[in-house]
Symmetry: C2
Subunit: 344 residues, 2 copies
């Protein structure tokens, strides 16, 4: 039987910042999800222009970014710095392109939607129908957390959230992952260990600082989790505290999350809610050693959720859980492509 | 000027389990702290007996454990399994030796003191004067946490504690550290990565399981932190929840700790309390990138405490902090030797 739904018209898609770790994943995810593409163009710096980058669409020649050219595309995925986004994103969107920005430049603007499709697609549709064409893609740690927190909030209500993160080096891009590999090798070989991407050596170490410190003693990364979770869940006063820690892993972020709920909650009830939640894979069979781990979550679209248990601090209104998701996928590229899919 | 205090009489000291990571550190710590030793003897399994082990007291020949011989020593430091401790510790103590056991065998017995000298030395002295000679050394994660939590409790009162750990491979002994090193090298060299000490491969991964799962969904390691913190702080009903996670580091455990206090607390007041606390080194200058890290805490006696900030969840009764301490030292050998020092 043929579908009653007409196939969506193919789109002309531009990926800007296509040579970076997130840009490359955006191209892969578009292909993996069969996004209807009539043309795909990869834009990068002048330095990279003319080079050929291989990917699932075959070898593509990188083009130097040119706002006049890019604004002609239907969908523009930005994997660029906040400054670059601030300079160009609004102009591109004004020209009619659907612009999805992975930087933090616009996430906190009241009139710009911040979207995790599994959680607040409605906010996208409302804004899109009202003519908005610039959408912010959330911080990686936030996106991974809210696919679990959103359904739990809907079912039980969130009162307090405490997050401790175990973040991968991919959060600092391909250079971060390369520094982990190279410097780990140096340490094992007894050679001097240096650091340039990270503030301190990362091999066999951890660094409890991601992004700059704010006046309140939290890092910007930690406050992003607070600010963005509030916006995505539409809970402007949610009490949420985060400690963000870089650990020597490659590309999957893990998070230990303690919540206090408004309604009583049991592990079984939470598991049932999460089993039905889009974007979540419940991995919670401790007797058999099954729980979320970077080893398994890396390269996967779904966020793994496990270690679900009644909390010893908030009694029958408390839950502890552990989540793990691919920082480059749900934390960045996948979520951006999912937003583009909402407009199909 | 000469001291008015007489020097304590030198003791005959036995280290049982002397070939393991903790046993070796016990010998090093005794020497580093100038523990008054008239004789030191290293006991191990039959398999190791007769071998020579080098250390700060020079080369020493390992002896096969013999309860009749060991009970003649003044101080017996046990770095052995819980089963071995259950079989021998009480007999050795009955013979008059001060027995300090690093296993979990006796930690939860109401009549056996569980001691972190900076926090509850009084409990040791009371029991020792009443004739107790068997003392339990706490779980590593607990010992490291309570040197910070104890002074904060004294000053502000603890109501709730939420702990997420970043635990080193030394928690699984020398074999754990060796597996981390060997398997990391294998992964970098493109060779197969295996695991035997840990339940899953540890290189560039994390494992949110330490010790066996309990009926309540927590691991035994996590419950040890709850049970032992309650006992050491003499707060039998303290609400404390822990998530214990193994990460690819060698020998320093880190912990992200969120507390709710009974009295209002500020970061400055907490910093002042911790600056005066024995066994604590406040490392909290984020502008200059100074915060606790395994890179610096490994090999140190003090527990580093930093990232001290007002908490976004418990308002002016809340504090977040990050601690890092050497698992083999404050988490095991150092604390055991400090207990022995209490009896001098």
């Amino acid at each position: 039987m043929s579908s009653n739904q007409a196939s969506p018209a193919p789109r002309r898609v531009a990926v800007v910042g296509a040579t970076g770790a997130v840009g490359r994943e955006m191209v892969s995810v578009l292909h993996a999800r069969n996004f209807p593409v009539s043309e795909i163009a990869l834009f990068a710096s002048e330095r990279s222009a003319g080079k050929v980058q291989d990917g699932p669409y075959g070898p593509l020649t990188l083009k130097a970014f040119d706002a006049e050219v890019v604004k002609g595309y239907d969908v523009v995925l930005l994997a660029v710095s906040g400054d670059f986004a601030k300079e160009h994103a609004k102009n591109l969107a004004s020209a009619g392109a659907l612009v999805i920005d992975n930087s933090s430049a616009f996430r906190y603007d009241a009139d710009i939607p911040l979207i995790v499709p599994e959680i607040n697609a409605a906010a996208f549709h409302e804004a899109f129908q009202a003519g908005s064409r610039l959408i912010a893609n959330p911080n990686c740690t936030t996106a991974i957390a809210v696919v679990a927190l959103g359904p739990l909030h809907k079912a039980f209500g969130l009162r307090r959230v405490i997050v401790s993160t175990y973040q991968a080096t991919s959060g600092a891009g391909a250079e971060g992952m390369a520094e982990l590999e190279e410097q780990t090798r140096n340490q094992l070989d007894g050679k001097p260990v240096t650091n340039s991407v990270f503030r301190h050596p990362i091999p066999f170490n951890l660094i409890p600082q991601i992004d700059a410190f704010q006046d309140n003693g939290y890092t910007k990364e930690e406050m992003k989790v607070t600010w963005e979770t509030r916006k995505i869940l539409d809970l402007p006063d949610l009490a949420l505290s985060c400690t963000a820690v870089r650990i020597p892993t490659y590309r999957a972020h893990s998070e230990a999350i303690t919540i206090e709920t408004l309604q009583p909650v049991t592990p079984d009830a939470a598991r049932a809610v999460l089993a039905d939640a889009a974007g979540v894979k419940v991995v919670d069979d401790p007797a058999n050693g099954a729980y979320p781990m970077p080893l398994n979550a890396a390269g996967q679209f779904d966020v793994e959720v496990g270690r679900i248990r009644s909390n010893l601090v908030f009694g029958d209104h408390g839950l502890d859980l552990f989540v793990c998701g691919d920082q480059l996928l749900k934390g960045a590229a996948l979520n951006a492509v999912q937003i583009a899919e909402l407009a199909l």
